[in-house]
């Protein structure tokens, strides 16, 4: 077991492309960290640097107080689960799991004990003599995890381990990974582009974009207080609605482009009065209020029925910005309706129009972060 520290980690590829722009973070012992972001954001690169498969251009990576920049992957006491599993095709399941242990000259009895234990946890007992091509996708996935478990590493690294599975299996394996982590309590770093995986698995999330960690925090922090418009748009489904708006003259309410005002909670941003902002509202936080007391009205254009939920697409009056709204499945709405909408003041997110950073409304005197 160990904690992992990243200190000003940067990665340049030959040719001058900078994939990682300096990341600092501390991953506690036993913590489950999910790095999430779109493809090409540097999340895999970051993890591969922790694994030792990519060189660190600048900065330090520490595993359990030891700088590992120049340490071979095998000597970092890590285990990695690859997206395509990377099982050795010519070896049996047993040999796949035992290979790493054999290479470190673990006694035979110990190998058998550990593989048997891992096989039991992962329900692979009957499959130990098979070869990878005789297994289903889910079973291969388990073998790949078994190979990591038997190493008894201090850090687990998961590189999009579920993206090759079908949707149903993915949900199931997600739960199993979570259970496994609870049972073993090993520090884990998990890379994914799937925000549902990220939200459900993570103790803390790292939302990455273009080689920068936009926000590091617990899933609920990230959901409730996204640090930037990027994070706000990336986490949450359907994505947050963004409206170009302006703070009122006293900084205590928000003027919408289509007319109407939304009051703000927890005091005001008096110092920012009149400022151009981006207003963010999650689709699930817009509520249909009784006729007359709605703050804004939505012209409904399109309905998407999902069964349990209903997605309503439309726009506010003369403003053409698309707005999505999530309602309970049985709500009677149809295209062409005008819905009066309300939103709780604490569910409003304000972002700087220029740089996309969150404007904190908690205390009026706060400098925007």
């Amino acid at each position: 077991m160990a904690d992992v520290q990243l200190r000003g980690v940067k990665k340049d590829y030959p040719g001058g492309f900078r994939a990682i722009h300096g990341i600092d973070m501390h991953i506690g012992d036993g913590e489950f960290i999910v790095i999430v972001g779109p493809s090409g954001c540097g999340k895999s690169t970051l993890m591969r640097m922790v694994a030792g498969l990519e060189r660190v251009t600048e900065g330090d990576i520490l595993i359990g107080e030891r700088v590992v920049n120049e340490v071979e992957p095998a000597d970092r006491n890590i285990a990695m689960v690859f997206q395509n599993y990377a099982l050795y095709p010519h070896m049996t399941v047993f040999d796949n799991m035992a290979y790493g242990l054999r290479n470190r000259r673990t006694p035979k009895a110990e190998i058998e004990k550990r593989v048997a234990a891992a096989a039991e946890i992962l329900e692979l007992q009957g499959l130990l003599d098979r070869r990878p091509r005789q297994l289903s996708g889910g079973q291969r996935q388990r073998v790949a995890m078994g190979r990591a478990i038997v190493r008894e590493p201090s850090v687990f690294l998961f590189d999009e381990p579920l993206s090759n599975l079908d949707a149903k299996l993915r949900v199931q394996m997600r739960l199993e990974i979570r259970k496994l982590h609870q049972a073993l309590g090993v520090t884990s770093i998990y890379v994914t582009h799937d925000q549902v995986e990220a939200m459900t698995l993570a103790d803390r999330l790292v939302v990455m974009n273009a080689g920068i960690a936009e926000q590091i925090g617990t899933p609920m922090q990230v959901y409730r207080q996204p640090a930037t418009t990027y994070v706000a748009g990336f986490i949450g489904s359907p994505a947050m609605n963004f409206i170009a708006a302006r703070l009122g003259p006293d900084g205590a309410d928000i003027e919408l482009p289509a007319g109407g005002r939304l009051p703000m909670s927890n005091g005001a941003l008096a110092s920012q009065a009149g400022r151009e902002v981006t207003l963010g509202i999650r689709p699930e936080h817009l509520t249909v209020s009784g006729a007359g007391d709605g703050v804004v009205s939505l012209n409904v254009e399109l309905i998407e029925q999902l069964g349990a939920d209903l997605l309503v697409h439309g726009h506010f009056g003369g403003d053409r910005t698309d707005i999505t709204l999530r309602l309970a499945g049985a709500t009677p709405v149809s295209a062409g309706d005008v819905l009066p909408l309300g939103v709780a003041p604490e569910s409003l997110h304000l972002f700087d129009r220029e740089n996309g950073r969150r404007l904190e409304t908690a205390a009026p005197s706060d400098v925007p972060m």
């Binding site: 694994a51 030792g52 498969l53 000597d75 990695m80 690859f82 050795y88 095709p89 290979y99």
Partner: protein, 282 residues
């Protein structure tokens, strides 16, 4: 097949059978000729059914050989051919798989230059470089030796290229997983890459064995000592004997024997060979 009509099946089979007959007929004639007395072959019509001299003919070529062609028993020549073919095959595979491993998995200066240098030599057949090669081999005193027969033919751009192409299809993650599993370059090669290349090695073995077995010009150039004659050049010597009629029945028996080892290799390796050529699953 898209269509499933009966007469098409017949036509297809008839075509195939005709093809087999055309290919097999000369071999049959060779076999028949090798079982007759010499005078039977010189009278018309040439027999098309086996005669009664099978045992004598084969016993003579295997044990004694042809007086007029140097009197080397076919057994010796086959042994020489076998040694040469195996040395070429095994040497080629060993060297080219290691070369391909270096080119694909190691980052060293002028890596691509090295690859292209190897690749360019693909364009040069043995015949083009045969004089300089002969000079080198002669100066090294390797004439009339197994080393001289095999070593100059071992370097192989084709096999290196094929192994390189195969290694490129092996996912990088496998190498990364092996690195995390604590396997160094030699272990990775031995434990992962070599077993995965099994079918490719088998396919190359077949091709290269036949290539080595059929070498004609090179052995003809560098062997003057009868005890190093190979069978393919030996047949030629039997036909072009001076001051005598070619002993066709014995030549044909030798030819039959010369065909045998490649056939055995193909039959034994057929399963792996086909797998190596068509397998996609990695």
């Amino acid at each position: 097949m898209v269509e499933n009509r009966r007469y098409l099946t017949y036509v297809a089979h008839a075509t195939l059978i005709l093809g087999i007959v055309i290919v097999a007929f000369p071999i049959w004639v060779t076999f028949v000729a090798s079982t007759h007395e010499p005078q039977d072959l010189l009278t018309s019509p040439v027999p098309i059914w086996p005669g009664g001299a099978f045992l004598e003919n084969y016993r003579q070529v295997l044990g004694v050989g042809l007086e007029a062609a140097g009197g080397v028993p076919v057994g010796t020549m086959m042994f020489n051919s076998l040694v040469m073919a195996l040395a070429i095959t095994i040497g080629k595979i060993a060297i080219s798989i290691i070369a391909a491993y270096a080119i694909v998995y190691f980052d060293f200066p002028f890596r691509m230059t090295a690859f292209w240098l190897i690749f360019v030599t693909l364009m040069l057949p043995v015949e083009v470089r045969i004089l300089p090669t002969f000079k080198v081999v002669a100066d090294l005193g390797m004439l009339n030796s197994y080393v001289g027969l095999s070593v100059p033919l071992i370097a192989s751009a084709t096999a290196t290229f094929l192994f390189r192409q195969f290694f490129l299809t092996v996912p990088d993650e496998l190498m990364e997983a092996a690195r995390i599993d604590g396997a160094g370059p030699i272990k990775f090669f031995r434990d992962v890459l070599l077993p995965l290349s099994r079918t490719n090695i088998a396919a190359l073995f077949v091709i290269l064995f036949i290539f080595g077995w059929n070498q004609y010009l090179w052995p003809l150039l560098i062997t003057t000592d009868e005890s190093f004659y190979t069978i393919v050049m030996g047949i030629q010597r039997m036909v072009t004997v001076a001051d005598a009629e070619p002993q066709w029945h014995l030549v044909m028996a030798t030819t039959m024997l010369a065909m045998l080892p490649p056939v055995v290799v193909v039959i034994c390796m057929q399963q792996l060979f086909v797998k190596g050529l068509v397998e996609v699953e990695k």
